[in-house]
Symmetry: C2
Subunit: 286 residues, 2 copies
């Protein structure tokens, strides 16, 4: 008899996982979503082996449950279904904040093995109609084991990540993950929206250069999702944001003094860091 892998939430990520994981070992892939149009689309396009509206019907039988909801949706789902998971089940999530999710998962009974994950893939679109099986090709899969995580579950997630097309699985801590994401992604979004708050924005329409477009591209963000991501990663994000503001202030100060030599030295330091960052390394040489 086949085992059951339930994916809760058939958006861009969950839908793409449901497509990418079809045929994985001896698992039947079952998609769950509350939206009728999403279920109809998923059913018509083979997103998973079958789909259902009712999580309560499939969660108690599921060997593996992947939560692909927005962060608050994951926390709410864990709270609602905490006593309905099958004893021995592996439950994991895919969202972009980890400390808050792992803390929320403490509500689960000891019989459930919860492991935080983050396949680092995405596009600027959302919804099942933009899902595609190749979304995870070449991406990193971040894995946050807990002390109680079962080795066979960690091994299962590694095989699963490889089957989806991820190029590697990197084990880290929730704290390190959240600091990484705060810096490499979240604060870039804060910069983008803050730049767009400048009162002269519309006066510049048509005169933006490529640096402006590169910096502000992500400002037209999904407000609901990013409110949750920022809020649930508040401590790490505040730290990065304070460091950024400090580094901007530092440039402001040297600029204000009019000391060109000091400004040139500071720019040389930063530009060298960027060039160092862009050198081919283990990641780029693959």
């Amino acid at each position: 008899m086949k085992k059951t892998l339930v994916i809760v939430g058939l958006g861009l990520i969950g839908g793409s996982m449901a497509l990418a994981l079809k045929g994985f070992e001896d698992y039947e892939i079952v998609g769950v979503d509350v939206s009728q149009p999403t279920l109809r689309y998923a059913s018509e396009h083979g997103v998973g082996d079958r789909v259902t509206e009712y999580a309560a019907d499939v969660i108690p039988q599921a060997d593996v449950v992947a939560l692909a909801l927005h962060p608050q949706g994951i926390l709410d789902f864990l709270h609602t279904y905490k006593d309905q998971f099958k004893p021995g089940a592996l439950v994991w999530d895919v969202c972009g904040v980890k400390s808050a999710i792992l803390e929320g998962a403490n509500c689960l009974p000891d019989t459930v093995d919860f492991i935080g994950c983050h396949p680092m893939a995405g596009t600027e679109f959302s919804g099942v109609e933009h899902a595609f099986a190749e979304l995870f090709q070449g991406s990193h899969f971040l894995l946050i084991p807990r002390e109680t995580s079962q080795p066979e579950h960690l091994a299962l997630l590694e095989r699963l990540a490889a089957y989806m097309g991820c190029k590697d699985v990197h084990r880290t801590t929730a704290q390190a993950h959240d600091a990484l994401i705060a810096y490499t992604s979240q604060v870039m979004h804060i910069i983008a929206v803050a730049v767009c708050d400048d009162p002269t924005l519309f006066d510049c329409k048509g005169y933006e250069g490529s640096s402006f477009r590169g910096c502000t591209r992500v400002a037209a963000l999904d407000v609901g999702l990013w409110t949750q991501l920022f809020s649930l990663n508040q401590p790490a994000l505040l730290e990065v944001l304070d460091r950024l503001i400090g580094n901007l202030q530092s440039y402001r100060e040297v600029l204000a003094t009019g000391d060109r030599k000091a400004l040139a030295e500071k720019l040389a330091f930063s530009a060298a860091r960027k060039r160092q960052m862009d050198l081919p390394g283990p990641d780029l040489l693959e």
Copy 2:
């Protein structure tokens, strides 16, 4: 007899102008540069009709002189050659700061008509070997007339910009130009270098997302050039930088309160501005 249009500085911009302006009306295009390899390359590749090392030989006969040096180089050139321009000559520059250049041009005698210009084109490369005639195709040409600017010179620059391939000529003031450039370009470069100053930069190598790469792309900048551009536009840049830091602080504060509703409202405001900015307008519909 042909008129003479001298281009001083055969780098990416000056070299591309020397290529793009060949055949313009009845002008002979004469390139000036102090670098022997640059002169040799220019001569071998037809960058301009002829080239010379000696500005003093050609400036006194030139009807039009275009200064395509770095900003400080323009200021120094004006100071050195102020008494050698032909009476009635049009002198213009192409650099990305205007108030400081126009102030520097006050050293010229009244017989010389200096007009600040800024063809908004460029690439990440520099040097005559990267110059190409099509560089200005579709770009804006910003023109900063002075009270004493002669209408026939303004008209000449408009024809010249059109001949180079610029899609329009926009007349503005030095102050408005410098505020525009401080916001749309300079502060984007300050952001990029400040982000790279974060101590965790190298820990994130290989895990940068597209938002990070988009924001920091321009951080590997030409230190000499940008030190001049920032320094010579200090007042406008400080204003924009202070507004940006204020807008980041404002996001920091609402994030620190933990008030999700307020954060969502703030994000919705900024994201709507970005979407509004991206709507097709006069510029995009062309």
